[in-house]
Structures are given as C-alpha cells and as structure tokens.
Amino acid sequence: MALQINHHIAGSGGVRGTVPKAVLDNLATRFRPAGLFLALLRADGTILFHDDSAGLFFQRYVLPLLQYEDTSDSGIKQQLRTLSATSPVTVWNHLPGVILAAFPHVDRRQMAGILILAAKSASFKLSEEVVRVCSRLGLDGIWLNQQAEETPTFTEEAIQRQARMLLAMMRDQVRLSSLEGELDSLSGQLANTYEELSLIYQLSGGMLINRGANDFFKTACLDVLETMGVQGMGVALSGDAAHRQEPVLYGPLSLPPGTVHRLSGELMPVLFHRKSPLLINDLAKDKTFHWLGEHARHLLAVPLQRQDRVLGCLFALEKKAGDFDSQDSKLLNSIANESAIYLENVMLFDDVHGLMMGLLHSLTSAVDAKDAYTCGHSERVAAISRQLTIEAGLPDALAERIYMAGLLHDVGKIGVPESVLQKTGRLTPEEFEQMKRHPQIGAKILQDVKQISDIIPGVLHHHERYDGQGYPGRLTGENIPLMGRIICLADCFDAMTSNRTYRKALPLEVALTEIRRCSGTQFDPILTEAFLKISVEKFRQYMSMRQEQAKDMIELQRNLQPAPAA
C-alpha cells in the first residue's frame, strides 16, 4: 500500500492537496480512544492513510473490507464515486456491521481525497453475512465477535457528529501545518537575509582606504565564496582601475592558465553595455561563453559601477547546489555596489595622495635647486630613511611617514640666503649660525599643516647628535626623536657620498666605515647596526639615482643659458 508522506513545506513543491501525515496521525490518535478508525482514501479507492495503531477489529476486519474489490453497487468504490467536492458528511452503512462517515477533503476547490471515519455499527452481530465476509478474509467469526464486543458502538447520528468535529479539526490542523511550513520557509529566507547582511557588514568593516584594493577584494571574494556556496569567485578591474589588480579567481575551482584573463576580457564589454547582472545557468549552451562550459555550468557576473562608470566586475562560477537565482544575483549586486563605492574612494584617495606627494616633490626640488651640489639630495635622504626604517624592523606605515619627513627635512633652507648655501669656501661663524637655523625654519614652515605635524620632529631634529653635541636642541640619545635619528644617518651618508665644493664624494666603503666610526657619538648605535645591514646593491641604487638627477640638472642649466649671439 502506497502511503503518501508529505512534509508540506510551503513553496517546496509538495504534492498538492494531500494532508500532512503528521496531521493525520495526530487526528487518528485523538479519535482512536472513542472507538473510531480514521482513513484517507483517494477517489479511486486507494488507501492513502489509515490509523495503523487501531484495534484488531479495525486492522483485521474494517481495513480489509475497505480494500476489498466489490463490483456490486454497494461496493466502497461505487460509494466514493457519489461524492464530490461539495458533498456534506455522508453516512454509509452498506458494509456489514460497520458504520462509515465520509466527507471530501477539499483543496483549492478540488476534491483531493475522502476522509473516512469508521466504527462498529449498533447492528453488528455474527450474522450470516458477517460470517461469509469472515471466511472470505480468512477470519474466525467467533474471534471477530470477541474483538467486536470490546469495540464501542456508534449510531448514525453519533458518528456524523464525530465526523463534523473531525472536519473542523482537520481544517484547523491543515491550516496550522501550512502556516508552520510558511514560517519555516520565511525563517529560511530570513536566515539568508541575515547571512547577506552580516556579509555586507563584514565587507564594510574591511573597507580601509589605505588597504590595498587587491587585499580587500581577496577577502570579499573568499567571504562571498562561502556565503553563496560557489566554487569560484573572481574579480576583474577595467579602465582607470585596471592597474590595481590583475583579473583573479579564488576558490576550489581551477581553470587552465589564461582562462580568467579571457573570461574577464569577454565579460567586460558585455557588462559595460548591460550595466546589470549577467546570469547564465548553462554555460555550454551560451552563445558567448560556451567555451567555458567544460569547466563550469554556472556564471553570475555583476558590474562594479559608480553612476555610469564601469570600474570592473565580480564574477561567481559554479554554484555547489542548484542554479543561480535572482537572490544570488541580488546579493552579488549589492556586494558589487558596496565594493564599487570603496574602489572609487580608494581611487580618489590615491589621486589626492598622488597630488600631495607631487607637490611635496616639487617643493623639495625647489629647495635642492638652490644649490646644484645638493640636487636630488632630499629625494635620496627620503629613500634611504625609508629603507633604514624598514631595515630596523619598524612598521611600513612609519616608513612612509619617515619618507615624507626625509623629503622635507631641508625645506627650511628656503630661509637661508643663497650666498650662504652656495658659498664655495669655508663659512664664517655668522654664516654657519645662519645655516644652522634651517631645521627650525623648516619646522616653522610646516607647523600649520596639521596633517603632517607628526613629521616635524624629523625635520627639527635631523642635526642632533647622539652625544648631545648637535643642534638645535643639543638633545642626547633616546631624547632625540626617532625620525630625527633616522634622517640624520641618511642625511650624513648622502652628504659624504656627494661631491662638495670643498671635496670630492667619498667612495661607498669609506663612507660606511665613517658611519661605523661615528656610531654612539654622532649616530644611534642600534640604528647604525641596521643601517650597515642595508645591502650594497641598495646603496649603489641610491648613488646611481644621484647621477641621473645630476645629469638632468646639468641639462636644465645648459638649456637655461642664453643662446650665443649668432
């Protein structure tokens, strides 16, 4: 016997019209103690459900009777045919010794089954007819009679009342069970929304402007990979953003080399025109992307766009369970929208940062240009200071600030007369005093730019000496700000390895020996150690930087000379 078990979850495609088995079990349990037997039949007589804990009278006598093929007009199947969706509770007593109340189970105005409530009829006795049925069913009539004596009797009115109650209860229960299913389905949807919300929160938390875009996209892709349940999640940037990130795919799906580049190359123009998500659930049959079909079935790609500008795209490949649907596309789209805002901000930040650094370089070049001998000095001191900071194991962020401090360390020379700066002979004590004021002048020039107030100590104290014999503060040891101690080393090294009006540049080895000799007197001994660990190649790079810069400067000066009269 086929028992249809239906969990009846709304929207899960359960068979329409059937009553959940849990509901029938529950109802059967309630009517059983009164001596009633519950069954659900299809219109053709097939039994879909019956109370399988009922007493023996029902199990061995009533149930087989319901199943028994009888072609006469009084057979159960013929009776069932008289019912329609609008039939009221009907009582039948054509089965010997049994009384039945039947009513249609209606779903969406269609009869989806017939509920039967059966009981022992008041007229039950071991009649000739019952005996005949018993022999047909292979039952002992005496035994059945004994079972029947323990089974309560129902009149027509009584069973009709019970059936009406059953009808009302069943409507309630079916409704309740469908509401429960709906609640589960809503909770499931809500759980998805929670996942999305928490993913978006997580992403927003990672949108630090000074974090590299590729680092951000990597985390974003890995998060989406998990939340959406896909095998591959990738990103490709285009146009102004393209240089920030090569097209890349994260996740367990592995594609042959070049595939990701080809995919992103072909996706970009498509998304550029669509400006909306592209969802393909059968890649092999797709006109444009069929070539990807041997590696994945599904593709979901969304543009990263701000207003009408497409900056790139996010793409998901191969969903683990089922196909991509509108929910996936909505989720990926909102992530793309968030990411695009972030990407645009990073680009704006870099623009502004680039502008600022450009202006700083111009300013320091202007200072260096006052004296041909110091050309490029600030750039080199900045680069060497940064390298020393990294070599000393200090954070990258600090190294960038120190680079900026290195660039600006001599900005105060703007306030020193050119006659002093460019003097070829020895400085008089008065001139030297003027020269010694440049750290303070520099600090003063920069003091109102609050965004770089942290680098002022580097500018102000780059001429302090570890032994306290420096200027302007005559600070000693650790009292000298770290930036000052670092720039001091880089500054002296560059001065030693540059030509001066009064001497030629020292060779690298000599300069390094001199640095070592001055460790603990002029220089911080720990920083000196770190300085001497910088590789010779790095030092050679800085020195070749100088040659390039000097060449440019000579070229410039030559061009500026008045052309000889023809």
Binding site: D184, L190, Y194, L199, T227
Partner: protein
C-alpha cells in the same frame, strides 16, 4: 548518541525562528524562551547542553541570566553564546566569570552561529 539540546533565548521572535530552524536542520533539539525569566526556568528544568542568549531581554538580561545560572551548581557549567547589538562589547571579566564563551553581534550569520555552536560543544565535550 542523543542529539544535543540547545536553549535559545531572545525576545525577538524572528531571531528565535531563524536560529531554531538552522539548529533543528543541523540535528539539534531546540527549546526556546522569549525572555530571561522563562530562559532561567527552562534551563533549570531542561538542563540544555548549550545556551544561546540575547543580551537585551525583558525580565532578566542575558548577563543576569548567566549570573543566575552560575549560582546554581546544576546549571553552572552550561556553556553560553551571547548575542549582542553591533558595536556593543561586554567586559571580559563579565564574560569569563559567567561561562560566556563566544559573543556574536547582530545581525550575525546563521552559518557562522552554527559553526560556533559546533566548536563550543566540541570544546565542552573535550573538557568533560
């Protein structure tokens, strides 16, 4: 092995529904309470293997609930995961003293909650 029993307490019914659906689907037995007092009574009568509770609840707050459970030796060892509003932080002293092993801020990922539940139960089983 009988499935683990988890008590979920939150005054927001949608959280109860989402969490219990996720946990039931993963094979856990779930009982729910919609305020701190009800949760306390259920914890005492049902002895769950794990408590997931919201912080902000009427009657008893999540923290008060944990403190009350701690006072009774029968419920003192129930490991707890606390749900809080985003940006809200509990003192580590409060969490350590009251058996609060993890904190998740709302809106949390149900998937993450489930993996946290599994971790906490595994740790509790290893400690027992």
């Amino acid at each position: 092995m009988a499935s683990k029993k988890i008590l979920v307490a939150d005054d927001e019914s949608h959280i109860l529904n989402v969490v219990s659906l996720k946990l039931r689907n993963a094979g856990f037995e779930v009982i729910t309470a919609s305020d701190g007092q009800e949760a306390l009574e259920l914890a005492q009568s049902e002895r769950p293997d794990l408590l997931i509770t919201d912080y902000h609840m009427p009657q008893l707050s999540g923290l008060e609930l944990c403190q009350r459970l701690k006072q009774d030796p029968a419920t003192a060892k129930i490991p707890t995961i606390m749900l809080t509003a985003r940006g809200y932080q509990l003192d580590t002293q409060d969490t350590e003293q009251n058996g609060i092993l993890r904190m998740l801020s709302k809106p949390f990922s149900p998937r993450h909650l489930l993996s946290t539940v599994n971790e906490v139960l595994a740790a509790a089983a290893a400690a027992a």
